[in-house]
């Protein structure tokens, strides 16, 4: 895994770590003698000689370390050229990163004078550059935004985004920028398919629907010899003929909402007070086999006992559940089916421990069981008919009879106003009216013609793109309404926002503030937090890492018996899923409680459920629901740095990976830009990746890495950041002792270790050497372990972290990368945040109230 070597470059577009330095040096040591005259004169007499003395040796005509040279810069910043490079120079000077520690150092006065000269020039250049062409603002909806928008536009949710080509994602970048949101023919084609699907479901045909019902009941009294009764669902899959083995749905309407009612209860052994039940529906569902193509129906926490059976109701859209197409046999094609399957999701993090054999029954009865006495399926159901999603589009109106043409116009206007997130222009309305007229002869009915016409509305650029158009087509307030809702919900503005925009007073700070708070309080903001954290923290990797199941036998759930025994259970939430929920749930909690931004470094609470708490070794957390859990120092869990999603994603699946973890810390937390290794650098041997079974000292590997010329320049500034994380293993657990060098690590074997408990004990005996987690970070102290790392970050890097979070929020909110031109706007936001203790919710609010957000990039049609 050392194939990728990484070089370092401070993040280009923006400054870091600047203010602290500035306030100390700029104000405490003002000295007349340190002032450099502005402009070219100052450059020739002061700045250039400084560069010659301290920089050109490595960044000049002879060498260009990090691909940076300074000798070609000219001293005229106002010319507007190479301002990014000037910003970079300013940044490394201010942070003290350059000149390197082992080179001759200039005096602080001189360094700060040069920094001040650059800063002043840059500020002036940015001010005078307002004429420069703005960044593009037109970008298509991301798949995430598209899915949510379709849901809110129609009032029910179909799984549509999964039929689109996946959006690109790039580590540590948000993908909602114009640069990433490209569009190809195939995509428009699929948008059209999706639009037609959605409208076929949204607009129903006249008349009453034919309702389909099916019911199953389960006998509580099966064989007394059987280990569980037909109405019971145990933790491990189940036997034939019991409710846990699934029921077969034989018919259903093609479209519509369904209702499933179950009578259920819990069997709760001593020490348990609840058991989670999940219903899933799809094709080929079996606990011990099958492909597991399914969609969840819903979950419920059962607390009632069997003598108190209760009814639970679930609703969903039948369209979303995969169909198992009937096989072709000698007798012809068998009918298609859908499997409905009840799962007992109880999980104490020790489920695999009992996989030894299927006769290991005692424990089975120690675990809570689910009882399902009956299941009833009915579809389509609606509180009124036609359903609300139909009348929302084809509403009741006298014009429907008296003036059909006018009625069509009214329907179009209302729908387009919501789909375009602004009222349509008269011209736009007329065009789609013409489309309706064109389609009507062929489609016949109002319903059918409207379905096709509105499908076309949904492939219009006005729907698919965020745009800022002039000429009265879009109005600033509507744009703002959309920007707010897509930032904080990832979806279209609701009625309230659109009405406010229509009145033209959304820019009123008091109203705007109230709306931001309302949007954050709405449950839709969970979508924002999840999407934002996933990309900001680059959590995607955690889903793809293959965990070494020999070393971490409790990480994935394995099938206890049957032909797939020992393989991964295909459809059951795992620790990995819970880890991702932990991270986005934690961030959501920070926003909800307006917690300090720096809680991401360390916090006195975590966001856990029982299986995850068991994985981390935190006691006293019961049940599958996530909640805020107070943490003690010895839990070693506060903040984001120790989240499993991050440690697993930046490991190899067998071993920790200090380089990946270092990159993560620098990119996601400190906001640095870590450059990938140059192409010509040879790969280091892949020892950790291949030798899962043999222990190696990571420090030795890194040392070897740093002795190679070409690697050292960058790695000397990178590797130390990853070393403190060595205390945490590849599965995200605190593990301060490791096997000695060269130790063979045995695989789990039933004959040798009997069970996982025995295996764990055998592994523990091998852990003989304290892990080496100590390193001196560049320009910082010696740091031993994650606790010290956190202390250092809180003490010395707080401002960088606040700035980074601010920039992330702004970038995500306005949908474009920041440039050097945003430098001073960000600086103002950071100052404001620092002044108020830098809290999450406050920060989101100030971002929404900032000029950057209100006027992201004024775009005027050229004349």
């Amino acid at each position: 895994m050392f194939a990728s070597c990484l070089a370092l470059l401070p993040r280009l577009p923006l400054f870091r770590r600047a203010i602290l330095f500035f306030s100390v040096v700029g104000f405490l040591v003002p000295g007349q003698g340190t002032e450099i005259p502005a402009g070219l004169a100052g450059y020739a007499d002061h700045v250039k000689p400084f560069f010659e003395e301290h920089c050109f040796q490595c960044h000049g005509p002879e060498k260009s370390k990090g691909d940076i040279t300074l000798h070609s810069l000219d001293g005229d910043l106002l010319a507007g050229l190479e301002l990014e490079r000037w910003e970079l120079v300013l940044e490394v000077l201010k942070s003290g990163e350059m000149p390197p520690e082992d080179e001759l150092q200039p005096s602080d006065e001189r360094k700060s004078a040069v920094a001040k000269w650059i800063d002043a020039g840059l500020r002036e250049a940015i001010r005078s550059a307002s004429q420069v062409a703005p960044e593009p603002t037109a970008r298509r909806l991301t798949n995430f935004e598209y899915q949510n928008t379709m849901r809110d536009l129609f009032g029910f949710e179909l799984n549509l985004a999964e039929k689109l080509p996946e959006d690109p994602h790039k580590p540590y970048h948000f993908n909602n920028t114009a640069e990433f949101m490209l569009l190809g023919p195939d995509q428009v084609d699929r948008y059209l398919d999706n639009a037609r699907e959605a409208l076929a479901s949204a607009i129903v045909d006249p008349g009453e629907p034919q309702v389909v019902r099916q019911e199953w009941t389960f006998d509580p009294r099966g064989s007394i010899l059987a280990e569980s009764q037909p109405d019971e669902v145990g933790v491990y899959g189940t036997r034939r003929g019991t409710v846990g083995n699934g029921v077969v749905l034989k018919q259903w309407p093609e479209r519509g909402e369904y209702r499933i009612r179950i009578k259920a209860a819990a069997i709760l052994p001593l020490g348990h007070d609840q058991v989670p039940l999940r219903l899933v529906m799809g094709s080929h569902l079996r606990s011990d086999a099958g492909t597991g193509d399914y969609e969840p129906v819903g979950s419920v926490l059962l607390k009632n006992k069997v003598d108190d059976l209760q009814e639970f109701e679930f609703r969903g859209r039948i369209e979303n559940h995969p169909i198992q197409v009937g096989k072709v046999t000698d007798k012809g094609q068998l009918p298609s089916t859908r499997y409905l399957y009840a799962q007992n999701l109880f999980d104490n993090g020790r489920l695999n421990d009992h996989r030894r054999n299927h006769l290991d029954n005692d424990w089975k009865f120690d675990a809570p069981r689910v009882v399902v006495r009956s299941i009833e399926f009915e579809a389509p159901v609606a509180d009124t008919w036609p359903p609300h999603h139909h009348t929302r589009i084809l509403f009741d109106s006298p014009e429907r009879e008296s003036d059909p043409e006018e009625y069509v116009r009214l329907v179009l206007e209302r729908f387009m106003g919501r789909a375009f997130r602004r009222p349509p222009s008269a011209q736009e309305l007329e065009r789609f009216f013409r489309l309706y007229q064109m389609l009507e002869p062929e489609f016949g009915t109002l319903e059918a013609t409207m379905r096709e016409t509105l499908s076309m509305v949904l492939i219009a650029p006005q729907f698919l793109y965020h745009t800022v158009a002039g000429d009265g087509v879009t109005i600033a307030d509507y744009e703002l309404a959309s920007r707010l809702s897509y930032f904080l919900w990832g979806s279209m503005p609701d009625e309230e926002l659109l009405v406010l925009a229509g009145k033209g007073n959304l820019k009123n700070p008091a109203i705007l503030e109230k709306q931001v708070q309302r949007l954050l309080d709405d449950e839709r903001s969970a979508d924002f937090v999840e999407n934002f954290s996933l990309q900001w923290l680059s959590l995607e990797k955690a889903k793809a890492i293959n965990i070494n199941r020999d070393l971490f036998p409790r990480f994935l759930y394995t099938v206890p018996n049957g032909e797939r025994r020992g393989q991964e259970v295909l459809f059951r939430p795992t620790i990995r899923d819970y880890m991702l929920q932990e991270t986005s749930g934690f961030i959501a909690e920070l926003i909800r409680g307006n917690r300090p931004v720096l809680d991401i470094v360390d916090s006195d609470f975590g966001w856990l459920n029982e299986p995850l708490a068991a994985h981390y070794g935190v006691d006293g957390v019961k049940g599958i629901g996530f909640r805020r859990v107070p943490l003690e120092k010895e839990d070693r869990l506060g903040g984001l740095l120790t989240h499993g999603s991050i440690l697993v994603g930046n490991g190899t699946g067998s071993a920790p990976h200090p380089i990946y973890r270092a990159v993560w810390l620098r990119e996601a937390i400190l906001g640095d830009k870590v450059k990938p290794p140059p192409a010509e650098v040879p790969a280091l041997s892949d020892t950790t990746g291949e030798s899962a079974e043999t222990a190696v000292s990571i420090k030795d590997l890194l040392r070897q890495h740093r002795t190679q010329e070409g690697c050292n320049d960058c790695h000397v500034r990178l590797d130390p950041w990853g070393i403190p994380f060595e205390e945490y293993n590849a599965a995200g657990q605190f593990q301060p002792v490791v096997p000695g060098p060269g130790t063979r690590i045995p695989r789990f074997s039933e004959t040798v270790h009997r069970d996982l408990q025995g295996y764990e004990e055998a592994l523990e005996k091998l852990l003989t050497v304290p892990v080496e987690a100590s390193a001196r970070v560049p320009h910082g102290p010696e740091i031993d372990g994650v606790d010290e790392l956190k202390n250092y970050l809180l003490r010395d890097r707080a401002e960088d972290i606040v700035r980074n979070v601010t920039e992330r929020l702004v970038t995500y909110g306005i949908g474009r990368e920041l440039t050097y031109r945003d430098r001073y706007a960000i600086e103002a936001l950071v100052k404001e945040a620092q002044g108020r203790d830098a809290r999450w919710r406050d920060l989101v609010l100030s971002v929404c109230l900032s000029d950057l957000f209100l006027f992201p990039s004024p775009s005027t049609p050229d004349l």
Partner: protein
């Protein structure tokens, strides 16, 4: 609800699903030739295997008997145990060692599959992927067949950045979703009109065309009101709608050509991952039929992606010979026996496809002679290296390729893999001087 013709949208029309048209069938080749008004079709196929190959070092410097490479260094090919399945087509094979895409260096071993057929530098200035070699050929010569190209993949769809499940890209940000279901592929290729008459299909296409005209008008009026930089951005929407228009036009034109007659004897369109051999062969059969009927001339097939652990394709080795882990684990642990069996199985499937081409006479030679087939991986061995892709080139003997050797491109001779792409493109009448980071042609394998 009464089923009216409009229930079938254009996509259904293209995908089909049901009976074929009751039109007189002609031999596929003859109508294609008539339309193109030119000589024998020249074809290009790219096929991909994931998680690298088995290529252990041996003491004597020769290839291991179970190595994917039949020999270690330069010289004429003598097959080993893993490559033995290629014996019947041995004269049409070249192995290349030491070639790769510089654009993939920054991606990591499991992400290089993204750029295998494109050579794009996704970590550099391009940021997204770029056009693939098959699509460039299709751009130039795709109009000569009913379908410009065929894009297959065992896992289907596009995948995402760094986790591609397709080899084909129409350009930046335009991955082409791979098809994975045999029945769907068959219908789409050979029964494109479902159960409708040609008349129905044509009038529907006509309506589609007028609707698209209106959509274009709508686009233009919005476009005129955008800022200059946004206008540029929105051009991709224009291109996309235009491409749809072109497809309507193209489909319409091809309704005047009879559909090819298919001998589907022995074709198991219900093949699933449960039987990997059956499934992969069925996909190769469909690919063969598409070429044989001249329905298309350019195709890609991602037999596995670099991220198959989340689905059953990642368990093929388990299904086939009971290997206990995912296929991916073979690459990491490299047990000799499982690695060898796995290489041999992959060789058997690919050789099956090559043999079908070789066994089909065409003019004075056979189909393989006018089809250049690239087979390989962007992930050489278990160590996530992004260098030295394992590459096999087959066929195209009448397109100027000269076979029978392994060519090793070590330090001093190293050239970009894209040089091979340039040669392949030129061989199929797509004149290019460069592709991605190429520096010229790969003269070593040109006769």
């Amino acid at each position: 609800m009464k089923m009216k013709s409009w229930h079938l949208n254009r996509r259904d029309v293209l995908r089909g699903g049901g009976l074929a048209l009751g039109l007189p069938f002609l031999n596929g080749m003859s109508w294609a030739k008539g339309l193109a008004g030119e000589g024998r079709p020249k074809r290009l196929v790219v096929s991909y295997i994931a998680y690298g190959i088995y290529d252990p070092k041996t003491a004597d410097g020769k290839a291991h008997e179970w190595s994917w490479y039949p020999r270690h260094d330069n010289g004429p090919i003598t097959l080993n145990r893993a490559s033995a399945p290629f014996e019947p087509v041995q004269d049409s094979l070249t192995y290349l060692r030491g070639l790769d895409h510089a654009g993939g260096y920054g991606l990591g071993g499991h992400s290089c599959g993204d750029v295998f057929a494109t050579g794009a530098d996704m970590t550099g200035p391009e940021k997204t992927n770029n056009i693939s070699v098959d699509q460039l050929a299709a751009k130039v010569n795709g109009h000569k067949t009913r379908y410009p190209s065929l894009v297959l993949g065992s896992e289907g769809g596009t995948g995402s950045y760094g986790m591609s499940k397709t080899l084909s890209h129409a350009g930046p940000g335009r991955p082409i979703p791979a098809l994975k279901r045999p029945q769907e592929i068959f219908n789409r290729l050979f029964q494109p009109y479902a159960n409708k008459t040609v008349g129905d299909v044509r009038s529907e296409l006509k309506r589609e065309a007028s609707v698209l005209d209106l959509m274009m008008e709508n686009y233009r009026s919005l476009h005129g009101k955008l800022g200059a930089e946004d206008r540029e951005k929105m051009d991709e929407y224009l291109e996309s709608v235009r491409a749809l228009e072109q497809r309507v036009e193209r489909t319409s034109r091809w309704t005047h050509e009879p559909l090819p007659e298919i001998d589907s004897e022995g074709l198991n369109l219900d093949a699933t991952y449960e039987d990997p051999t059956e499934y992969i062969r069925c996909m190769y059969d469909l690919l063969y039929l598409a070429l044989q009927t001249d329905s298309t001339r350019f195709a890609t097939f991602m037999t596995e992606s670099e991220h198959s652990t989340g689905n059953l394709v990642g368990n093929f080795a388990n299904k086939l010979f009971g290997y206990t882990g995912a296929t991916h684990d073979i690459a990491h642990k490299r047990p000799e026996e499982a690695s060898g069996l796995w290489e041999k199985w992959r060789a058997e499937q690919h050789s099956y496809f090559l043999q079908r081409l070789r066994d089909t006479p065409e003019g004075e030679g056979n189909m393989l002679d006018s089809t250049v087939v690239l087979w390989g991986s962007a992930h050489p061995h278990g160590s996530h290296s992004t260098r030295d892709y394992p590459i096999q080139v087959a066929g195209g003997n009448r397109l100027g390729f000269r076979h029978g050797h392994l060519h090793a491109f070590d330090e001093s001779r190293k050239v970009p893999l894209s040089n091979l792409f340039v040669s392949m493109l030129n061989a199929v009448d797509t004149p290019v001087e460069e592709f991605a980071d190429s520096t010229g042609e790969l003269t070593e394998i040109l006769g």
